[in-house]
Amino acid sequence: MNTSQIRWFEIFKFKGIGPLMLVILICLVISALLGSQVPGLIAELSRTYDDLDLFKQSLINLSIVFFGVYFNRALYQVGVNKFIQLLVRRVRNFCYEKWLLHYDVQSSKDKKTEAFPQGEVLARIMNDTESFRELITSGTFGIFIDLFFVVSCLVSFLKINLISGGFLMAMEVLASISLIWLSKYMRAIYLSVRNAQGFMSRAVANVVGGVSETHYTDHQMYASKNCEKRFTDFLDKQLVSNVWDASYYSLAESLYPMLLACVVLIFPYSKITEVAVIFAIVDLIQRSIGPIKDISGKIANVQRAITGFQRIGGFINHLEDGFSSDKRSALGDTVLFDELEVNIDHFKYFTTKGQSAFSLKDIHFVGKRGELIGLVGLSGSGKSTLLNILAANIIPDSADIRLKCQDNPSSHSYPGSGPLDVVRYREQIGIVSQESHVFSETLAFNITLSDVIPEDFEKFWSWIEEQIPYFKEWGINSKSQIRPDELSSGQKQLLAAVRSCYLKKTIVLFDEISSGLDGALEAALRKVVLLVQQNSLTIIVAHRVETIIEADKILVLDDGSLVSMGQHAELLQTSQTYAQFLQELSPT
C-alpha cells in the first residue's frame, strides 16, 4: 500500500505539472464566478425592458459574460490538453521502461513465464493510457467546467428566489442521481456489446490472416461460418443496447417539460410575481439540462480512466517484484573475465501436478576465452536446458557458475546471492539462437543496437565484409533497411552472430540452426563462429558434425547428465553416446 502511494506520486511528478494545474484551477474558479452572474443578468434584462438605456446596458453586460466564458473555456481546454499530453507521455514511458528493464526468468521454484504476453503489454501501455486521452475526446473534462458554471448559476439563483431555486436544485440533483443510477445498468449492456464487438473483431482479424492460405485446402467455408456467428451475436447485443440507450436519452430529453412542471407545482409557495424571475428560471432549466444529460454518460469515462490507472498500477507492481536491470550497463568495473567455471549439481523443472519433471544433474566443466565448446546430445538430452541456464534465462538453485580472471583474483558468481548477481552475469553473455531478434531498422542499428551509430562501426563493418564475402553476394550494406519478414532464419542468425561479434561478449552461446541452409550461408555462419571465437568463449549447440570437429572440447549430454567430455577424435573411441549421435546426424 505504502509503496504504491509513493509510486503514484512519482508518476505525477513531472516537469511542468505545477503551472498547468494552477491554470486549470484558475479557469474553474473563473467559470464559477461567471456562472454566478448569469441568473442575475438574465433577470435584469427582463426587468429593464421598459428603460431603453438600462436594457442596452444589460445586453452589453450579458455579452461580456458570454465572451468571458468563451475565453476561459478555451484556455481551460488548452490547459487540460497539455496536461493529458504530458501525463500520457510520462505514464507510457514509465511503463515501457519498467517493462523493458524487467527480466522474465524461470527457476525450479516457479514458472513465471509470460505473465504479460504481447497483447497484454500493448494493452497496458497503449489502451490503458488511451483511457486518459478519452477524457478529452469524449468531452469529459468539459463537463467539469460546465458543472462549475451551472452549479454556481443555481446557487446564485437562490438569491433571486429561494424556494423555487431550492426546489429546482433538489429536482435536478434527483434527476442526475437517477440517471447515474440507471446508467449503471446501461453499463452492463454496453459491456456485453463491447465484448461481442471484441469477439467480432478478433474473428475478423483472425480470418483475414488465414483465408488466402486455407483457400488451397479443404476449408468448408470455415471463415464465413465463423464470422457470421460473431456478426449475428454482435447484431443481437447491439439491438438490445439500442433499445436501452434510445430510451435512456429520450428520458433525459424529457427533463425540460418535467422541470417546467416542477416550477409550476411550486408556484403556490414560491410567490413569484415578476416576468424577470420566470425568464431567469426557464433560462436556468435550459442551461442545466445539457450537463445533467451528459454527466451520467461521462461518469463511465471517468471510471474507465480510473480502471486504467489501476491496471497500470498492477502492471508496475508486478514488474517491480521481479528481476530488473539498470538502464545502462550495471557493470561499472572494468574487470576483463577470461575463464568460466560451471558447476551445476542439480536442476529440476517446476511442475504443477505429480508429473515427472525433466532434470539436469552433475554438470561440471571449465572454458577459456578463445575456446570453442561443442554441446551435443539427442533430442531431449538437456542441451537447451543447459544453454538456458548458461544464458541465465533459467536460474538453477544448486549451482555455481563462476566468471574468473587470470590477472585478478576477483571473480563473479551466478546465481550468487541475489538478482543483482544474475543481472551482472547476464551482461557478460551474448546469445545467438533462433530466438535472436532482427529489428526492422537499418543493418547498422541491428548490429550496434544503438540509436546513434558509433564511429568505429564503419571500420568494423568493412572488416566483416572482407572476412565474410557472403554479405557482398547478399547485396546489403551497413545502411540497408532490414526487413525481417524477407530474411531466412539462417540470414537472421548470421546478423545476430555478427552483432555478438561486434559487442565482444566474454561468453557467446550459439544454438545452431538444424536445417534449411544453403551452402554459401552455411559457410558464412561457420566463418562468423570463428570470428566470435577470437574474443570470446564460444559454446555451441551443434547440429552438424563439421561445426564440432575442431572444437576444443565437446560435452556429450544424455538424459540430463554429462556422460562424456573431450575432443572429437578421442570421443569417437570412448563414447558410445557420441557415436550414436553422429550416426543419427548422418542421413543414411
Partner: protein, 550 residues
C-alpha cells in the same frame, strides 16, 4: 440474398429505403411529433410569464407530464426505427463480403494486406452503418425540426429568425474546424500504429535487447515515437479547444440579438422567454448536424474502398487468367503443369501417387512453383491441400484448426488424435478431448513454429485431398523426429493413393521422395529424375548435397 455490394452508395441507400420503407415511415412520423411537442414548450413558458402578475396558484401541470411522455415515446421510436435497418444491413454486407473473399482465388486480393482487409470488413463497414443509421437520422431530424420550428417561431414574429444567425454561424465554424482537424486525427492514428509496432518489436526482441543492454536506446526511441503521436493528438485537440466554446458563445449572441429585436419591435418581456426556448430547441438538432458532414465524407471514402476490393474479387486476376490459359485441361493421371518460373513458362511434371521433391537454393522460387500448382489444381475443382512454409493457424482450438468448417464426427476425432500422436503433439494435453479443445492462441503463438507446422500437416492429411503440396514440411523438426514421423505416417496407411509435392533443403527429406526436381533461378529446371538414380551417380543433385553426406 440480395447483392448489395455491387452498387453505388446512392443506390445502396435507395435499396435500403425500399426494403425498409415502413421503418422509415414510422421514423419520420415520430420525428415530426417529437418536434411538434417540443415547439409547444416555449409557448407554455411564455404563457406562464404572461400570467405571472395575475397569480399562478392553479396552473395545470398534467399537460407538462403528458408532453414529457410524448417526447420519450416518439424520440425512442424514431431512433430505433432508424437504427434497426442500418444494423441489419451492416451485418448482411459483412457476411456477403467474407463469403466472397473465401470463395475466390487469393490472387484476386493479393495486393490487399490482411490489415487492409480487416480495415474494410471492420471499420469501413461501420462507417457505412454510421451513414445509414446516424447521419440519415440526424439529417431527417434537422429537416423535420426546421420544418416544424421555423413556422412556429414565425407565427409569433418572423423578424426574430434573423437573430438565430450567430448560432448558425458558430455551428458552421465548428463543423469546418472539425473537418479540418481530421487530418491531425488521421496522423495521430498513423503514429499510434507506429508506436504499437514499436512495442510489438520490443516484445519480440526483448531478450535480444536485454542481452545486449540496449535498453536505453529503446527507451529513447520509444519516447520519440510516442511523443510524436501525442503531439499530433495535441494539435488535433487545439482546434477543438478553440471551436467547441464557440457554440455557447453563438447561442448567447443569438439570445442578445433576439432580445434587442424584441425590444425594438416592442413584443413584450414574455417574448424573451419564448425566444430563449426556441434557441434551446434549435440547439439539439444543430449539435448533431456538425458531425453529419464528417460522416458523409468518411463513408464515401469507405464505400470506395469496399467497392475497390469487391470489383477486384469479381474478375479473375491477370495471373489467375494466364495460369488457366496455359493449363486449360483438368490435371489428370499425368500431372503436367505449366508454371511461370521467373518470367518463363516451364513444364513441371509430377507423377501421380508418388512423392516429388523440389530442391534448389533459398529464394530460387520453389515456393512460387508450389503455389501456382495449387492454384491450377484448385481452379479445376480438384481437391488439394497446401501447407505454406510458415503456415497460419487460426486463433481457435486445435480441433477447429484441423477440421476448419467440416462437421466433426467421433471417427474423425479418433483419426486426428492418432495423427497428433504421430506428430508428437499429444503431450500438450492429458487426453484427447482436452487436446482437441486446446486454444492455439493468436497465429498459433502458444505453439512453437515447428508445432504449428506439424498441426498444419495434420490439417492437410485430414483434408479430403488427393494432392498434398507441402512447402518445406520438416524444416523445424530435427532429423531424428523427421525419420520417425515419416515412418509412422507410411505405416498408418493415410498416405496411400496421395500425391505429395514438397520442397526441402535437407538430404534426409529428399531421400523420402521418389522423384527430384532441381530448380535454379537462372536456368529453370536443371535436373529431374528418380531420387535413387540421381543420388547414386555424379549428378548435380549429388553435388548439391555432397556436404550433407558424411
Amino acid at each position: 440474398m440480395k447483392n448489395r455490394l455491387d452498387r453505388s452508395i446512392t443506390s445502396l441507400v435507395i435499396l435500403q429505403f425500399r426494403e425498409y420503407w415502413y421503418y422509415y415511415l414510422v421514423a419520420f412520423t415520430c420525428l415530426f411529433f417529437t418536434h411538434y411537442i417540443g415547439s409547444q414548450l416555449p409557448f407554455l413558458a411564455k404563457e406562464l410569464a404572461e400570467k405571472v402578475g395575475d397569480g399562478l396558484e392553479n396552473q395545470p401541470v398534467g399537460i407538462f407530464f403528458l408532453l414529457a411522455l410524448g417526447i420519450i415515446i416518439f424520440r425512442t421510436s424514431s431512433r430505433l426505427s432508424f437504427f434497426y435497418p442500418a444494423r441489419v444491413m451492416q451485418k448482411n454486407l459483412r457476411v456477403e463480403l467474407v463469403e466472397k473473399l473465401e470463395k475466390v482465388s487469393p490472387l484476386r486480393y493479393k495486393e490487399f494486406s490482411s490489415g487492409q482487409l480487416y480495415q474494410i470488413i471492420q471499420n469501413d463497414m461501420d462507417q457505412l452503418r454510421a451513414l445509414i443509421g446516424f447521419a440519415l437520422l440526424q439529417l431527417g431530424n434537422i429537416v423535420v425540426a426546421l420544418a416544424v420550428l421555423i413556422p412556429k417561431i414565425s407565427s409569433f414574429n418572423s423578424s426574430l429568425i434573423v437573430a438565430l444567425s450567430p448560432m448558425l454561424i458558430s455551428f458552421i465554424f465548428f463543423t469546418l474546424v472539425v473537418s479540418k482537424n481530421r487530418k491531425y486525427y488521421k496522423q495521430t492514428q498513423d503514429y499510434q500504429g507506429e508506436v504499437q509496432n514499436f512495442i510489438m518489436e520490443s516484445y519480440l526482441g526483448k531478450k535480444t535487447i536485454k542481452n545486449f543492454h540496449a535498453e536505453q536506446s529503446f527507451i529513447d526511441l520509444f519516447d520519440k515515437a510516442s511523443f510524436k503521436e501525442l503531439v499530433a493528438f495535441y494539435r488535433a485537440g487545439l482546434g477543438i479547444a478553440f471551436s467547441i466554446p464557440v457554440i455557447p458563445l453563438g447561442v448567447g449572441m443569438s439570445l442578445v440579438w433576439g432580445a434587442w429585436i424584441i425590444r425594438t419591435l416592442d413584443l413584450g418581456a414574455p417574448g424573451l422567454v419564448l425566444f430563449s426556448g426556441f434557441i434551446f430547441l434549435f440547439l439539439e438538432p444543430l449539435m448533431y448536424v456538425s458531425w453529419i458532414g464528417v460522416v458523409f465524407a468518411r463513408s464515401g471514402a469507405s464505400w470506395n474502398r469496399i467497392r475497390d476490393l469487391v470489383s477486384k474479387l469479381e474478375v479473375p486476376a491477370t495471373d489467375e487468367k494466364k495460369l488457366l490459359e496455359m493449363n486449360p485441361h483438368k490435371i489428370d493421371e499425368e500431372m503436367n503443369f505449366k508454371v511461370l518460373f521467373w518470367d518463363k513458362w516451364t513444364n513441371v511434371d509430377i507423377k501421380r501417387g508418388d512423392w516429388t521433391v523440389l530442391i534448389g537454393k533459398t529464394g530460387c522460387g520453389k515456393s512460387e512453383v508450389l503455389k501456382q500448382m495449387a492454384e491450377v489444381i484448385k481452379s479445376h475443382g480438384e481437391s488439394i491441400s497446401y501447407v505454406a512454409q510458415s503456415p497460419y493457424l487460426y486463433n481457435d482450438t486445435i480441433s477447429a484448426n484441423i477440421f476448419l468448417g467440416k462437421e466433426v464426427t467421433d471417427e474423425l476425432k479418433k483419426r486426428a488424435y492418432d495423427l497428433l500422436k504421430i506428430m508428437g503433439l499429444d503431450y500438450l494435453a492429458d487426453n484427447r478431448e482436452e487436446l482437441l479443445k486446446l486454444e492455439v492462441g493468436e497465429n498459433g503463438k502458444r505453439l512453437s513454429g515447428g508445432q504449428a507446422k506439424r498441426l498444419c500437416l495434420i490439417r492437410s492429411l485430414m483434408a479430403e485431398a488427393t494432392v498434398l503440396l507441402w512447402d518445406d514440411p520438416f524444416s523445424s523438426v530435427d532429423l531424428i523426429l523427421e525419420k520417425q514421423i515419416v515412418e509412422d505416417l507410411k505405416k498408418s496407411g493415410l498416405m496411400e493413393g496421395k500425391t505429395v509435392v514438397l520442397t526441402s533443403h535437407r538430404l534426409t527429406t529428399v531421400r523420402l521422395s521418389q522423384h527430384v526436381i532441381f530448380l535454379e533461378k537462372e536456368n529453370g529446371i536443371i535436373e529431374e529424375g528418380e531420387m535413387s538414380q540421381l543420388l547414386s551417380s555424379k549428378s548435380k543433385t549429388y553435388e548439391y548435397f555432397s556436404d550433407q553426406m558424411v
